[in-house]
Amino acid sequence: MPEATYLGAITATLGEAMRADPRVFVLGVAEGGPWGATKGLVGEFGAERVRNTPISEAAICGIAVGAAQSGLRPVVEIMFVDFVTLALDQLVNQAAKAHFMSGGQLTVPLVLRTQGGAGQRGGAQHSQSLEAWLTHVPGLKVVMPSTAADAAGLLAAAIADPNPVVFVENKTLYFRREELAREDVPIGRAKVVRPGRDVTVVALSRLVHESLAAAEDLAGEGVEVEVVDPRTLVPLDLETIVESVARTHRLVVAHEAVAHGGVGAEIAAQVQAASFDELDAPIERVGAPFAPIPFSPPLEDAYLPGRAEVAAAVRASLGR
């Protein structure tokens, strides 16, 4: 089984999709920005299909929407999720609603790749986790892979999907190496990444790895944690989460985004509605404080939720 990085899996999947379908093309600022996710592709596919764009997030997103409506399959990259703010009209008012408002005449098979996450001293405008905003918009699908295998599988699925899909990567995962088991990863299917009988932890993106580390720590205390990665936020695979809660009767939802108004709140609301009688304890949420991300390294480290916060939430759920 070949070893690959998360970033390498993305580049390889883009190349495969472009080789298989001439309608697929990529566009973004500086061919993948500081990480160069699309850098290797221009040699094979040429500058017409690997388009280096000016720093015009709104226009390139709009061009991608128009191209998608006219039959192409664009993969547009917004270098930091923080800059999706600049493209929101195109994403929210145009892409998300075109199929609906046209009575089904238009489809927008668009993938918007972007990345978020703190931990690299980027300060408050280059480190956010804004996925919750995007999950609030009917018409968008939102995926958030935590491993190279899921990144590859979900990117292929997103490119094949007839709807606009926002693909949220995490910059701290880009160079994480793993044995890459290539498999189909359908949009909308969660994965139980570690089975356990005592507490379910539903974790997103980087927090999946933090939760697995916390689960190791807690195993030493005799607590068996089940870690579930939704992988897709919209549509959410509630069934897998509810099944897990039916086994453990306790739930922790963990993400790096600000807890207030985060995806965790939505998951908690859906689970309590579906499984109120199964729950033996209040649902615990792990997320960042309600503040912008500080620059100063010790402050950023203290701000970021991780292994310790997940473990503490699991203990709280158990009344310890």
């Binding site: 309608r23 093309f25 017409e48 299909r49 388009r51 764009t53 000016p54 015009s56 709104a58 226009a59 390139i60 997103c61 709009g62 061009i63 991608a64 929407v65 128009g66 191209a67 998608a68 409506q69 006219s70 039959g71 192409l72 664009p74 009209d89 195109q90 008012n93 145009q94 609603k97 075109a98 199929h99 609906f100 408002m101 046209s102 009575g103 089904g104 005449q105 238009l106 489809t107 009917p138 018409g139 699908k141 007839p162 709807n163």
Partner: protein
């Protein structure tokens, strides 16, 4: 042009009678731009419009009954009643859509132009927007990209002198939209937008070049919005033109004076009345339609 004029006037009456709801922006007075441009386009040429879109859709070939039923929110509407006045779409005739966000349609047209180029077609993309759209950042971003990538797109500005409720002079120091794009050196022209033959000729010159893969182009059409920004706008910000003054400006009367032809008004009236009857007979959409069409 009569078809659009009579249609818009009928829509105005139906809005006042509460048969058409919501925000309705009429294009009466600006017909020459829609007709001078769209009469030269094919179904595979993409046209985008803004919130004042009825005339563009009709000129591009959208059936009157489909537009009227859409404005009434009926199942038989172009968009099955889910779009409304500001979001008309008729894919069959290449009307890829109106958008209610001023300026948001410009990059969409560039995307369609790029799609035409990448798929080896000689189709072009056209986007209609008002002079108010030019002050938005998305306009500059889009013009820059269109020029950089030499996209076969024709930007058609309907400069009616008012950005919603405000005269152009209060929003910008640049009087002509064609001057706004001057630094990019794209081919541009300002014409009398109430003179359909002039619009037709200028657009035709650009179209020929766009079909050959050149672009982008900007055509600024100086025109006049006969009504307010929206239907029901009291228009306290401007004085109405004197009737005699409008007679001189009216693109339809001017064409009649040039060609001496008449009789279209009655014909258009009958077509519009038939469309109203078809639309009225169409049911409202079922309650589940919305949920069915969130995703493709």
């Amino acid at each position: 042009m009569w078809r659009i004029r009579v249609f818009e006037e009928r829509v105005g009456r139906l809005t006042r009678a509460n048969e058409i709801h919501g925000l309705v922006h009429l294009s009466a007075g600006q017909e020459a731009v829609a007709v001078g441009v769209c009469s030269q386009l094919r179904d595979d040429d993409a046209v985008y419009s803004g919130h004042r879109a009825h005339g563009h859709a009709i000129a591009k070939g959208a059936p009157l009954e489909g537009v009227m039923a859409e404005l009434m929110g009926r199942e038989g509407g172009l968009c099955r009643g889910l779009g409304g006045s500001m979001h008309l779409v008729d894919v069959e005739h290449g009307f890829l859509g109106a958008t209610g966000v001023v300026g948001g349609n410009v990059p969409l047209a560039l995307g369609s132009a790029l799609a035409a180029r990448l798929s080896g077609s000689d189709a072009v993309a056209v986007v209609f927007f008002g002079d108010g759209a030019v002050q938005g950042g998305i306009f500059a971003e889009s013009v820059n990209l269109a020029a950089l990538w030499r996209l076969p797109a024709i930007l058609v500005c309907e400069n009616n002198g008012f950005a919603e409720f405000t005269p152009r002079s209060a929003h910008t120091t640049v009087e002509r939209v064609s001057d706004v794009v001057a630094p990019w050196e794209l081919e541009r022209e300002t014409v009398d937008g109430n003179e359909v033959l002039e619009v037709h000729a200028a657009f035709g010159r650009f179209l020929e070049q766009a079909r050959a893969g050149q672009g982008p182009f900007l055509l600024e059409c100086l025109t006049h919005r006969l009504g307010g920004h929206y239907e029901g706008d009291p228009q306290l910000y401007r004085e109405a033109l004197a009737a005699a003054e409008w007679q001189e400006l009216d693109p339809i009367l001017r064409l009649q004076r040039a060609l001496g032809h008449d009789g279209f008004e009655e014909e258009a009236g009958a077509e519009v009345e038939a469309a109203v009857e078809v639309a009225r007979a169409s049911p409202f959409p079922g309650p589940d339609l919305g949920a069915e069409l969130v995703y493709a």
